[in-house]
C-alpha cells in the first residue's frame, strides 16, 4: 500500500484526535504525560465537548499542556489550578472545566486550593498525575514519594519520621461530600491505559451532568528523575508505587446519591 492510500480515511486505523495539536511534545521518552494527554483528549473529542471545554495546567512538567491540547487553556500558578478552575467555572457554568496537575502541585503547595474546591463540590474534573517525584525541578521529594525513596532532597531515602509520610490525597478527598468520583489508575500497560481512559470518560460524564468534583489519579512514572530507563521506571511503578497506591475506584457516585 502506498503512503497516499494508507492515509485515505477509509484505510486509517489510527489517527491523532483533533483535540491534540500536531506538535512534538517536550516530555521525556517514556513519560506517562503524553499518554494521559492523548487519552484525555480522545475522551474530550468523543464526548463532543471540545468547543466548550476549558483546561487549567499549573506549574510542573505539564504546565506546557496548552501547547498540545487544542482546547482553551489557562496556565496557572503553582498549586492554584483548582482555584483558577473555580473562577472559570463559576462565571461559565455551562462550560466543562478540568485541571491537569502533578503531585507536588496538587498535594503539596496546592493542598488548600484542592481540598476547598473539592469541599465546595466545584463541578470540575481534576486529572492528577502522581509519579512520586518532582519532574520539572529535577527530582526532588514529592508529598507522594514513597517511604525510603531516594530523591535529590532525600538523598538517604525519605525518612518518614522527619520528612512525613507519602500522602494518599485521593483517599482524603473521597471523604468530602462535595466529591462525586475518585479513582486511581495507571498508564504503563495497554490494558491499564484503556481502563484509565474509561475512568476519565466517567469523570467527565459526571462533570457534564453537574455531579460535583471528580478526580482521576494516574500513578505514573518519571524515568529521567528516577534515573531509570522507561522500562525500569514502569517496573518501579508496578512493583513499588502500585502496592502502596492501589489502583481502582475510591469513590463512585452511588455512594453519594
Amino acid at each position: 500500500m502506498t503512503e497516499n492510500l494508507i492515509i485515505q480515511e477509509d484505510n486509517l486505523v489510527w489517527n491523532k484526535p483533533s483535540t491534540l495539536l500536531d506538535v512534538p511534545m517536550h516530555y521525556c521518552p517514556g513519560c506517562g504525560h503524553s499518554t494521559v494527554h492523548r487519552i484525555l483528549m480522545e475522551v474530550v473529542e468523543e464526548l463532543g465537548i471540545a468547543d466548550r471545554t476549558i483546561g487549567v495546567a499549573p506549574v510542573g512538567c505539564s504546565v506546557f499542556a496548552y501547547h498540545y491540547l487544542n482546547v482553551d487553556m489557562q496556565q496557572a500558578a503553582h498549586g492554584r489550578a483548582c482555584a483558577v478552575a473555580t473562577g472559570i467555572k463559576r462565571v461559565h457554568p455551562d462550560k466543562i472545566v478540568f485541571t491537569y496537575q502533578g503531585d507536588g502541585d496538587l498535594a503539596a503547595i496546592g493542598t488548600a486550593e484542592t481540598i476547598h474546591a473539592a469541599n465546595r463540590g466545584e463541578n470540575i474534573t481534576v486529572i492528577f498525575i502522581n509519579n512520586g517525584i518532582y519532574g520539572m525541578t529535577s527530582g526532588q521529594m514529592a508529598p507522594t514519594s514513597l517511604a525510603g525513596m531516594q530523591t535529590t532532597t532525600s538523598p538517604f531515602g525519605r525518612d518518614v519520621q522527619t520528612m512525613g509520610y507519602p500522602m494518599k490525597i485521593s483517599e482524603m478527598l473521597a471523604m468530602l461530600p462535595g466529591v462525586s468520583f475518585v479513582t486511581r489508575q495507571a498508564v504503563h500497560k495497554p490494558a491499564l491505559v484503556r481502563k484509565a481512559k474509561k475512568s476519565i470518560r466517567q469523570a467527565l460524564e459526571y462533570n457534564i451532568k453537574g455531579m460535583g468534583f471528580s478526580l482521576v489519579e494516574i500513578v505514573s512514572n518519571c524515568p529521567s528523575n528516577l534515573k531509570m530507563t522507561p522500562i525500569e521506571s514502569n517496573i518501579f511503578v508496578e512493583n513499588k508505587m502500585i502496592p502502596f497506591y492501589e489502583l481502582g475506584d475510591i469513590k463512585v457516585p452511588s455512594e453519594v446519591l
Binding site: 471540545a50 468547543d51 466548550r52 471545554t53 476549558i54 487549567v56 504546565v63 506546557f64 496548552y66 491540547l69 487544542n70 482546547v71 482553551d72 487553556m73 489557562q74 496556565q75 496557572a76 500558578a77 492554584r80 482555584a83 483558577v84 478552575a85 473555580t86 473562577g87 472559570i88 463559576r90 462565571v91 461559565h92 462550560k95 488548600a112 486550593e113 476547598h116
Partner: protein, 354 residues
C-alpha cells in the same frame, strides 16, 4: 434623579461593583474591609446574578480572579494589607498574562499583622511592584466615599482598555467612614464572550485560546516585557489624574494622596487663613504618577511638604519628579495614627516659615 445615599466606604464600593455590572467577586474576610463581602453576599446575586464567593484564602481568591478574568468576565476582589501581600503572587501573574481585573486594598497599618487602624503604608506595594517581575498596576487613590464609587467604574474601564490589573488603594478610614454618595445607574453586565482573546471555550474558533505568563525563551520574555512597558508608557501619556487646588499663586505646596491629602487640605486652608500662600496637589493616579505637575511647580515654589500616613513612600516619587528644583519635606504618622491638620501646619511652619 440622582441616587443619593449616606454610605460607608466599603459598602459604597460594593454597591458600585454591583452597579458596574461586575460578573464575579472572590474574596476573603479581613478587617477593615469585610463589609464588602458581607454587602455583596446580601445584595449582589439577587440583583444581577453576580457570583459572590468566599474563598478559603486570599491566595485562592486572587487565583479565582485570574481564572474568571482569563475567561472574559468582569471581576474584582478586595482585601487589606496582610491579605493583599498574599495576593501579590497572583497580581504578578495577572499583570503578565494581561488580565483585566480590579483590586481594592483597604490599607491598614503594618508591617506584619500590624493594626486594623487606617494606614497608607502599602503605597510601595501597590505602585512599585509588590509581586515579582517588571510590572505595574494602575493605582487609584480615593480620598472620599464618593471616589470609592467613582473609581470602581473608572477602574473597570481602565482595566479593560489596557488589559491590566487596576488597584484602588484606599485606607481603613475611607473604608469605614460614612459620607454622602451619588451612585451611578445600574449598568448591564458586559458580554463575557465578547473578549476574543479569552478562554471561553473554543466554540467556532479553529484554534484554542490560551492564557499564560510562561515564556521560557529569554527573547520572548523580553518581548513581553517590552510590550508591557509600552502599555505603561501609554498610561503615563493618557491616564494621569490629579487634583490641584490654589497652585497658581502658591509659594508652597502641600501634597499627599487619599486621606493624607484630605487632611492636608484642611491644613492648607488654615495656613491660607494665616496668610501663607499654600497650594495643594493630590495625585489621584499613583501609577501613572503625575510627574509633570510636580516638575512645573517645583521651579515656581519655595518648598513642598508631602504628608502621608506612612514613613515616607510617595515622597520618593515627588522628589524624583521635582529633581531638586525646590526642597521637598516629608511629614508622616504611621502604624494607624492619623495626623491632624494642626500638626501638619506646625510642621509646615517649622520647615518653611521659621
Amino acid at each position: 434623579m440622582a441616587d443619593k445615599k449616606l454610605m460607608k466606604g466599603n459598602e459604597a464600593l460594593a454597591e458600585a461593583m454591583i452597579r458596574a455590572g461586575c460578573d464575579a467577586y472572590f474574596g476573603y474576610p479581613i478587617t477593615p474591609q469585610s463589609e464588602v463581602l458581607e454587602y455583596l453576599a446580601r445584595e449582589a446575586t439577587n440583583r444581577t446574578g453576580m457570583v459572590v464567593l468566599q474563598a478559603e484564602s486570599e491566595v485562592a481568591a486572587v487565583n479565582m480572579i485570574y481564572g474568571a478574568a482569563g475567561a472574559g468576565a468582569r471581576v474584582m476582589t478586595t482585601s487589606s494589607s496582610p491579605g493583599m501581600s498574599l495576593m501579590m503572587e497572583g497580581v504578578s501573574y495577572i499583570a503578565s498574562a494581561e488580565l483585566p481585573c480590579l483590586f481594592a486594598n483597604v490599607n491598614r497599618g503594618g508591617p506584619g499583622l500590624g493594626t486594623i487602624q487606617p494606614s497608607q503604608a502599602d503605597y510601595f506595594q501597590s505602585v512599585k511592584g509588590g509581586g515579582h517581575g517588571d510590572y505595574k498596576m494602575f493605582v487609584l487613590a480615593p480620598s472620599s466615599v464618593q471616589e470609592m464609587v467613582d473609581f470602581v467604574k473608572l477602574g473597570f474601564d481602565v482595566a479593560d482598555k489596557y488589559r491590566t490589573p487596576v488597584m484602588i488603594l484606599a485606607d481603613g478610614a475611607i473604608g469605614q467612614m460614612m459620607e454622602k454618595v451619588v451612585l451611578f445607574e445600574q449598568m448591564p453586565r458586559p458580554d463575557k464572550n465578547a473578549k476574543t482573546w479569552a478562554t471561553t471555550g473554543r466554540a467556532d474558533r479553529p484554534v484554542r485560546n490560551y492564557i499564560t505568563s510562561l515564556h521560557i525563551q529569554a527573547e520572548k520574555m523580553e518581548e513581553i516585557n517590552m510590550r508591557l512597558q509600552a502599555k505603561y508608557r501609554d498610561m503615563e501619556e493618557n491616564e494621569v489624574r490629579y487634583q490641584a487646588i490654589d497652585i497658581d499663586d502658591a509659594d508652597y505646596i502641600l501634597t499627599g494622596f487619599g486621606l493624607g491629602a484630605r487632611i492636608a487640605m484642611r491644613a492648607m486652608e488654615m495656613g491660607r487663613e494665616k496668610g501663607y500662600k499654600i497650594g495643594l496637589i493630590r495625585p489621584i493616579t499613583l501609577f501613572p504618577f503625575p510627574t509633570k505637575i510636580f516638575e512645573e511647580v517645583g521651579s515656581k515654589v519655595k518648598g513642598i511638604l508631602d504628608v502621608e500616613m506612612n514613613c515616607g513612600q510617595m515622597v520618593e516619587d515627588v522628589r524624583l519628579s521635582v529633581e531638586g528644583r525646590c526642597p521637598v519635606k516629608f511629614y508622616g504618622r504611621t502604624g494607624g495614627v492619623i495626623p491632624s491638620p494642626e500638626e501638619i501646619l506646625e510642621k509646615f511652619e517649622e520647615y518653611f516659615i521659621k
